[in-house]
């Protein structure tokens, strides 16, 4: 059933290839293999394998390679051609097997991050806890990544994935600046990241990030995730603590807040999420992105915030034992 659906879409997007399949078995495009006349069963197997091993967008990983001479192009093609191997033995349903394998590696996105646009720019806030299942591995993780002086990215999901791809995005943005003599827009930056993540879709990356920045059009905020989704919006919260943060954020949000009010709202929202969510905690960091770039506003320990918002009331003592006064 799956094969049939793919077969149809394959035909609709690559009509030239399907035609040449019936005629000469020559290479028309350098990156796609064309099967020589095979019977139906072999062709189905080949198509399945090809679907698994689509050519990835490895431009992110090749940033430092010099211009390749054309003679090398053919050899390079062999080198970067996806390896082919037999399906694991006893594995009737490879899709299900792959999904299960991914699930074991899937990080639960235990965190709380939020960002919102208001009249004075963008506020970005996050907690700082990293957890592995039930164990807290760190209380001091930097989840707001400075892509460049006027753009921030938040981290939710796999820490390594987020750190690597945000840094890679920073590199791409800088290259864009140098090539085009102007800064990249938030729209462009988020699209770059989204396209890279889309090409790795299904391979187990776990990233739920928000790209916030200020460009010529004003403040910009995009949500990008490892499933390939990209959304433009005014208010986002990502992570296991996001429902709690949304509650506070949606309640207190007004577009015409001052920077101080927005700062306090973001801090409160993250604090409430760390209180209720077990996988969020540590320190709340709040950043503000204005026309001149981003600025870190505060980094408060969440526990101190709790006792500031809810000071300890001395409990009224019902029965108190006192020593009898000396006679």
């Amino acid at each position: 059933m799956l094969l049939l659906v793919f077969g149809l879409s394959f035909l609709s997007f690559f009509p030239s290839l399907s035609l040449s399949q019936h005629f000469a078995p020559t290479r028309t495009k350098p990156h796609h293999r064309i099967s020589v006349s095979l019977n139906l069963k072999q062709r189905k197997q080949r198509e399945e394998k090809r679907r698994m091993m689509m050519k990835l967008d490895t431009s992110g990983l090749e940033s430092f390679s010099a211009a390749v001479p054309s003679a090398m192009a053919a050899a390079e093609d062999q080198l970067f051609a996806p390896p082919s191997f037999d399906l694991p033995a006893g594995c009737a349903d490879f899709d299900k097997f792959q999904m299960e394998a991914k699930q074991t590696l899937k990080h639960a996105k235990g965190t709380t991050t939020l960002a919102f646009i208001f009249n004075q720019g963008v506020i970005v806030a996050a907690d700082s806890r990293a957890s592995m299942g039930g164990y807290i591995s760190s209380q001091s993780v930097k989840k707001i990544i400075e892509i460049n002086p006027y753009m921030l990215g938040t981290m939710a999901g796999g820490a390594a994935d987020c750190q690597f791809w945000h840094r890679n995005l920073g590199i791409k943005c800088r290259l864009h600046e140098l090539a085009n003599k102007r800064r990249i827009s938030v729209t462009g930056a988020s699209k770059l990241l989204a396209n890279i993540l889309y090409s790795y879709r299904g391979m187990g990356l776990s990233i739920g990030t928000m790209i916030a920045g200020w460009d010529e059009k004003g403040p910009g905020l995009y949500y990008v995730d490892s499933e390939g989704g990209r959304l433009k919006g005014n208010r986002f919260s990502v992570g296991s603590g996001s429902p709690y943060a949304y509650g506070v954020l949606d309640n207190g949000y007004r577009p015409d807040m001052t920077v101080e009010e927005a700062h306090e709202l973001a801090r409160r929202a993250i604090y409430h999420a760390t209180f209720r969510d077990g996988a969020s905690g540590g320190v709340v960091s709040v950043y503000h992105v204005g026309p001149n770039g981003w600025k870190k506003l505060s980094g408060d320990d969440v526990s101190e915030l709790h006792y500031k918002y809810y000071p300890v009331q001395p409990t009224p003592v019902e029965h108190e034992m006192v020593d009898a006064p000396p006679a």
């Binding site: 957890s131 807290i136 969510d277 969440v302 709790h306």
Partner: protein
């Protein structure tokens, strides 16, 4: 996450000089969500015997109700309170009765026996007793608790020092566990008095 990590808990009991302390965290959660921050895990059986139950909260409460029932019957028949060692055997037997469909709780028992001799022990969910002379731990934060207690414990501590030690061990351990914490509760029992204290901890 396993069934033992569904609600999250942390329990520790320590022995001092003619006294003991039993401490627990105060969080009740449903996996990652925190539902209550004043949940009671340490229960009194009689003035000199306390039991803390970690693991699944509903099984902890049911176990406690069954134990109170059995102890009250014992009091009626024997006209005295149970000794801690006897009580430990009772808990162990009750847990093993459910060998093939167990209660998902791990008890920590602490009491003053004859001659005000402190007694502590812990069990797994099937009733395997583990007697200790220094400290016992239980719950989702148990590994951190083992480390903290091992390094902070000294034998023959006075009640005030014992209270400090057990509080520090508990708070520092639950700060490394997502599923327990949100405050602490310490019960310090000496032959003459019982002190209950609530600890101010990290609320994240």
């Amino acid at each position: 996450m396993s069934i033992f990590e569904y609600n999250g808990s942390a329990l520790v009991a320590m022995v001092g000089k003619n006294c003991f302390a039993i401490a627990s965290d105060r969080r009740l959660g449903v996996q990652l969500q925190t539902v209550a921050t004043d949940f009671q895990r340490v229960f009194k059986i009689h003035d000199r015997l306390y039991i803390g139950l970690s693991g699944l909260a509903t099984d902890a409460q049911t176990m406690y109700q069954k134990l109170v029932f059995r102890h009250k019957l014992y009091q009626l028949r024997e006209e005295r309170d149970m000794k801690p060692q006897t009580f430990a055997s009772l808990v162990s037997a009750l847990l093993y009765e459910k060998r093939f469909g167990p209660f998902f709780c791990q008890p920590v028992i602490a009491g003053l026996g004859d001659n005000d001799e402190p007694f502590i022990c812990t069990m797994d969910c099937l009733g395997a007793k583990e007697l200790a002379k220094d400290f016992v731990v239980s719950g989702t934060a148990s590994e951190s608790l083992y480390g903290a207690c091992e390094s902070m414990y000294k034998p023959d501590m006075e009640p005030e020092e014992l209270f400090e030690t057990i509080s520090q061990a508990l708070l520092s351990s639950v700060d490394r566990d997502c599923l327990s914490g949100w405050g602490g509760y310490v019960l310090l029992v000496t032959p003459t008095e019982v002190q209950e204290k609530i600890l101010k901890g990290r609320m994240d």
